[in-house]
């Protein structure tokens, strides 16, 4: 029974709890049983909060017995990257330093999920200070991919990807500054959204680079991801970059299907350097998209290396500014990798940083005006090569490896600079047993199109129904 409960989607389990077919307590216990089995293998949690979760589940059941449904997530167990503030507690940020700082109030996204009735099972693993795309963590232990534990889970929201994929929780929040939601979602085979810059409040979320950071959900299906996004998105006066653009009903929009959506695919000149397995999965997925009514055409893409450098200048400068004092006073409390990555930003001149920000609007308008002139959704892989192993990306071990790690964000980081919404969608498996995922990108504030396309794809395929097994 516990396995059957944990195997359901967020949407299904929320409906079952609301209909009193199953109690929140039973569902929470089922998740805790899976966590007990999987945690030693994948290290998805930094802190498990079992007792508070069971108490919250009991309260949710009591409320429902009185006829009170708290919201669309009533009694549903979630857990989040350990970087969201909760009043009176300290989030580690995956670091040795932040755990000493107690938050004064609670992150807006956590308040909104709690208001919707969600239960929190604990705090999920992440890259130190959200500063790495692999899921290595020198302080809390590396997070591992549930499909093949020799491989990275992806980062920096590593625990979010691994926990959702292993069915330890029904959904999780992550943050994305250069790919940190899309990479772990993609590598672990779940759906993950980096929303448009300004769509979801960052109040109470640990910043990595405030001009690029986006908070987004990871979930088992596109429908689950749409549901979570609708709950956390929307204007927040406590985040100065928060947009007042109305939030559509993303779940209701799924009924519109994918028919009529115009897709853009990369030209052969770009794909020729990619792994054959990735290109094959892309072609197969494009055929499925066509069959559900969304044909594709090849579109010219600008050189991503320029966009990458612009994003890098902003990211490194802002991170260095935030970490400057700790870098000087507590360098020993950083891993070598994160200290080195962050330190680089101290040497980018202010003029370069400001240039990168000042031309951002023009670059973004130019990209949207040309790439999206005749398409609605751009389709790219999350990663153009097979997901590497933990050993292949151990930056503490070899001077050669930082370059390999930087290559992981080659296709994701540019969209943080451009501010565009991008969704990771699993579309198959590599011969190494690790998922292959695509990245669907749209014009600003067009998340609904991404959910519609991904949902139509999942209605026609079954990749999202496959579960990793303990071996």
């Amino acid at each position: 029974v516990a396995e059957a409960l944990a195997g359901r989607s967020l949407t299904e389990i929320a409906a079952a709890i609301a209909a009193k077919q199953v109690s929140a307590l039973e569902v929470t216990r089922a998740c805790l049983a899976r966590i007990e089995a999987w945690q030693p293998r994948i290290n998805a949690f930094i802190t498990l909060e079992a007792e508070p979760a069971l108490e919250a589940a009991a309260r949710a059941d009591a409320a429902l017995a009185r006829g009170t449904l708290l919201g669309p997530l009533h009694g549903v167990p979630l857990a989040h990257k350990d970087m969201f503030a909760r009043a009176g507690t300290a989030a580690s940020g995956g670091s040795r330093i932040l755990g000493e700082l107690v938050a004064g109030d609670t992150a807006t996204v956590l308040e909104r999920l709690a208001s919707a009735g969600a239960i929190s099972l604990g705090r999920l693993n992440m890259s130190e200070f959200a500063a790495g795309p692999t899921g290595h963590n020198a302080h809390w232990g590396d997070c591992r991919n549930p499909w093949n534990t020799a491989h990275i889970a992806g980062g920096s929201s590593s625990g979010s990807g691994a926990a959702v994929a292993a069915r330890l929780v029904y959904g999780a929040l992550g943050s994305d500054t250069g790919g940190s939601v899309r990479l772990p979602a993609g590598f672990c085979g779940v759906v993950g959204l980096k929303p448009t810059y300004g769509r979801v409040s960052r109040h109470g979320a640990m910043p990595r680079a405030w001009s690029l950071d986006a908070v987004g959900p990871l979930a088992r299906t596109a429908r689950d991801c749409a549901l979570l996004t609708g709950i956390v998105a929307g204007y927040d006066p406590r985040d100065a970059t928060s947009s007042r653009d109305p939030v559509p009903d993303y779940v209701a929009a799924l009924a519109d299907g994918a028919s009529g959506l115009r897709l853009g695919a990369p030209p052969e000149a770009v794909t020729s350097g990619w792994s054959p397995a990735i290109v094959g999965a892309l072609d197969t997925a494009l055929a499925v998209f066509r069959d559900v009514g969304a044909p594709s055409r090849v579109v010219d893409l600008p050189d991503f290396t320029g966009l990458y450098a612009l994003a890098d200048a902003v990211s490194k400068s802002e991170a260095a500014a935030m970490h400057g004092r700790w870098l000087r006073e507590r360098p020993q409390d950083y891993s070598v990798h994160v200290r080195s990555r962050t330190e680089a930003g101290l040497h980018i001149p202010a003029a370069r940083y400001l240039e990168a920000l000042a031309i951002r609007g023009k670059v973004a308008a130019g990209f949207v005006g040309t790439v999206f002139a005749e398409i609605d959704v751009l389709v790219l892989p999350v990663l153009a090569v097979p997901v590497p192993t933990i050993a292949e990306t151990d930056v503490e071990a070899s001077a050669e490896i930082p370059g390999v790690v930087a290559g992981i964000t080659q296709l994701t980081r540019p969209f943080n600079y451009l501010g565009l919404p991008a969704l990771a969608l699993p579309v198959g498996f590599d011969p190494n047993g690790v998922p292959i995922s695509l990245q669907l990108v749209a014009r600003p504030f067009n998340e609904a199109l991404l959910f519609r396309l991904a949902h139509a794809y999942q209605a026609a395929t079954d990749w999202h129904r496959r579960l990793p097994t303990l071996t």
Partner: protein, 73 residues
């Protein structure tokens, strides 16, 4: 002639001493120099390519809102 990255590496070492941070090895300073120089050169080139169109970065969300709707033809 000294390569620019060597000069930058020396600046990085100098800064480390000025701020009394941990000692930076010459190897690490050189790695940082290569990385930083790549970023700086590329950003400068991109800024040059945009022919001096400079926006207020604080209006970026408003710009994204204006790009929401696709032209349909």
């Amino acid at each position: 002639m000294t390569e620019p990255s060597d000069e930058l590496a020396r600046l990085i070492e100098l800064e480390a001493r000025l701020l009394q941070r941990r000692p930076v090895t010459a190897t690490r300073a050189a790695e940082l120099a290569v990385e930083v120089e790549r970023i700086n050169r590329r950003v400068a080139a991109e800024a040059e390519r945009q022919h001096g169109f400079f926006d207020d970065p604080f209006q970026f969300v408003a710009l994204l809102e204006s790009l929401k709707d696709a032209p349909r033809g």
